[in-house]
């Protein structure tokens, strides 16, 4: 077998010699799982837009660093008034957009005003809700006045939705994005790849890559061979389930980081019998988180007991509340008058954590008498049926937005959860800036969700990155969904 392989390989060595190049590399092919619907980060919620463009093509006043910290970007520095309402940003000079036009304070005002306008299509208008007015002091200075002090304002300005665009090109960004970043957009082969090349006159630290291609690989099955054959050199968001395929291979660097993704078994709280607390608790007791993490996430991922990332400073460990206990679950079902079990559906969106986790959960719930029919759905259907119409019993999804515990207080959110006590805590939290008080409120909120067993809390989604071992500078964690390539280079 080995010999056979050698002979075959030798026979075609000539091909290999022709096709491979030994020059020092300045190009990179990155695999991304989803294709962006368009290329304007200020006009869409899709994470895939940021994965391609954030920090590479577009820059904001501030930016988020590899570990979630706020860093200066187009704003060289800033000052905050004492009442916390006025931010004065000092901008970098000599910055040019990729179309050659100069960047100035006017562009900042334009971008922020555009994002918060009534007819704005910005997906995160909430980020700009507190802005009262934006004033151009001079070409290199901008003053932003807030309606109320906002602790997260600088962080907000680092979001992809808050990047600075040029009035000249803003409307065309969906097809031909023009930013100020170190890379400029070159081409987009729909359904296949998006190519960026090094920008001609970049104001900041020079980047070492000349050309970056984001190749769209939705299938984990295709990702593994593409990686193994060297066609694609990096998958910053690799399917955890496939990680065993490349783990231990010295050619690759496998990085397990954290995300803000709480992976949960969502429950339709208004739909009988899930409106009964005992039923929801029974489900929580029936779940074996270790088996789920092992089976659906290659053993990666930290169990959670409520809706909060274990990495968060306000995290409370509630995983002990519902240990895996089949008897207890059956007992609770009996209390709920469902000792003979019942049937329900489990709608599963495409990611492997949902599809694989769903099979395991269905098997675990079957053990306590709940017979689940698995209904795989595409994202579009999931959004339509589950998220919008709330036509579901159970579903599995990872909520990847950071600090999003407030979703449980939203009216009409797809959990159909309604708890005035919880709503009050969230309302109070929104008006509180005192760290200790916030920690206490968040703790209470987590406890309520856990006690109510609103959903089945599973685990924090890991961020698995796999890339060529010779590649340096890619983010290990995912504080936001982005592929910052500014520090990426090949070593030899």
């Amino acid at each position: 077998m080995k010999l056979w392989k050698t002979v075959l390989a030798a026979a075609v060595l000539t091909f290999a010699a022709i096709t491979s190049s030994f020059a020092a590399r300045t190009d990179l092919v990155i695999g991304i799982p989803l294709e962006p619907p368009h290329l304007d980060p200020t006009a869409g919620a899709a994470a895939a837009i940021d994965e391609v463009l954030y920090a590479n093509v577009f820059e904001g006043l501030t930016r988020i660093g590899p570990n979630g910290e706020v860093l200066p970007d187009l704003a060289e520095s800033w000052s905050i008034s004492d009442d916390g309402k006025t931010y004065t940003f000092k901008l970098h000079t000599g910055v040019k957009f990729h179309d050659g036009s100069d960047f100035s304070a006017d562009d900042v005002k334009f971008s922020l005003d555009r994002a918060r306008a009534d007819n704005s299509v910005n997906a995160q208008k909430g980020l700009f809700a507190q802005i009262d007015k934006v004033d151009v002091v001079d070409p290199a200075t901008v003053k932003v006045t807030l309606k109320n002090p906002q602790g997260s304002f600088l962080y907000n300005m680092g979001w992809g939705d808050a990047v600075i665009v040029s009035p000249k090109s803003a409307d065309a960004n969906k097809e031909k994005p023009i930013g100020t970043g170190p890379f400029k957009f070159q081409s987009w082969a729909k359904g296949s790849s998006i190519t960026l090349v090094k920008a001609d006159h970049y104001w900041g630290a020079p980047v070492s890559l000349d050309k970056v291609e984001f190749r769209i690989v939705p299938d984990a099955a295709a990702a593994v061979p593409a990686l193994l054959s060297g066609d694609i050199q990096a998958f910053p968001f690799f399917d955890p389930d496939s990680v065993s395929q490349v783990k231990g291979d010295p050619r690759f660097h496998v990085v397990i980081g954290s995300t803000e993704g709480e992976t949960i078994l969502s429950i339709n709280n208004k739909k009988p019998p899930f409106d009964k607390l005992q039923v929801r608790q029974a489900i929580s007791f029936a779940l074996d988180r270790k088996a789920i993490i092992d089976g659906a996430s290659a053993g990666l991922g930290v169990p959670i007991g409520s809706h909060m990332s274990p990495a968060n400073k306000d995290y409370v460990d509630l995983t002990g509340l519902y240990p895996h206990n089949v008897d207890k679950a059956k007992e609770l079902l009996k209390e709920a008058g469902l000792e003979n079990g019942f049937k329900a559906t489990l709608k599963l969106p495409p990611p492997s954590y949902a599809r694989l986790g769903g099979e395991i959960i269905a098997s675990e719930l079957r053990d306590v008498g709940i017979d689940l029919e698995i209904v795989p759905v595409e994202w579009a259907q999931w959004l339509d049926q589950v998220f919008t119409k709330k036509d579901y019993d159970l579903t599995i999804v990872s909520h990847t937005e950071p600090n999003d515990i407030d979703i449980y207080s939203r009216k009409d959110y797809y959990f159909n959860y309604d708890n005035p006590t919880f709503d009050k805590i969230i309302a109070e939290l929104n008006l509180t800036s005192d760290e200790a008080k916030r920690k206490q409120l968040l703790g209470e909120a987590q406890k309520i969700l856990a006690d109510d067993a609103v959903v089945g809390f599973l685990y924090e989604l890991p961020k698995v990155g796999v890339w060529d071992a010779k590649l340096q500078g890619l983010w290990e964690n995912a504080p936001i969904q982005a592929n910052d390539l500014t520090k990426v280079k090949w070593t030899d």
């Binding site: 392989k5 075959l8 390989a9 075609v12 091909f15 290999a16 096709t19 294709e35 619907p37 368009h38 869409g44 919620a45 997906a123 969906k174 097809e175 082969a189 729909k190 359904g191 296949s192 790849s193 190749r215 769209i216 690989v217 939705p218 299938d219 099955a221 295709a222 061979p225 593409a226 193994l228 054959s229 060297g230 066609d231 694609i232 495409p350 595409e378 994202w379 579009a380 259907q381 959004l383 339509d384 998220f387 919008t388």
Partner: protein, 315 residues
Amino acid sequence: MTAYLAKRLIIAAVTLVLASMVVFAVMEILPGDPARLMLGFNASADQVELLRNQMGLNAPLVLRYLHWAGGLLSLDFGRSYTYSVPVVDLVRERVVVSLPLALIALALSTVIAIPVGVFSAGRQGRAGDTLAMGAAQLGVAVPNFWFALMLIYLFAVWLRLVPAGGFPGWNAGVWPALKSLLLPAVALALPQAAILARVARSALIEVLNEDYIRTARAKGLPYSAVLWRHALRNAMIPVLTILGLQFAFLLAGTIIIENVFYLPGLGRLVFQAITQRDLIVVESVVMLLVAAVIAVNLLVDFSYAVVDPRLRGRQ
């Protein structure tokens, strides 16, 4: 000749129109509101309604069909809901992948199948025939996607001879582009070649039993000359029929194969569009594929007339 061709042409046109109605009707009953999909979940009902009006989704059914069908005729397929670019642009980018892929696969399967069929028919019942037809039986039984997986691991992962998938684009040069189409084409072609070889063989054997083969032999032509000069052309009709059917099969096969090799072709476009409920893309691409199948079948009908003078009528 004209009457035959005219009849085939009319049938093809009628089929095309009926097919367009079916496609349109199916799209109408597909669940999922494209306007809501475009705007996302945070959009209000009013915004959705506004967009629905803009997109013409509220117009009467017949008007929408006529508008759509009229657009198809003038190559105006509308704009993709998800990409918000003209569908025709998307299609243009994809056709340059799918069409060469299908053609290479078709050529490959023909080039493999016909000689094997002739070889087997000439040695009917002997060891060579048994061996070739055994292999063909096996080829017919292999699911192409499984075969594709095995090919990827053998040639791309293990031997690293060809890319595991993806398409560098024709701009990257003809050879790299062809190289990335090689494995998918083989995966598509081999099972089809197996079917075609079997058909070619049985058609040839049937023809070889005809009286005119004996006439040709009685003229003093050696067996091989009879096989190539007299039998093959007569056996072409069933072979052409299968080739026509295979084109449709290859087109459909590209849906899975393009997914396995993540080639940015029409098959993957339509598969993605189905999952994303990008109806306008789905209906356009499906129509295009259907039109291609109809066109190929028409071509097959025409080629019957070329091969078989009896269809050309009295001169």
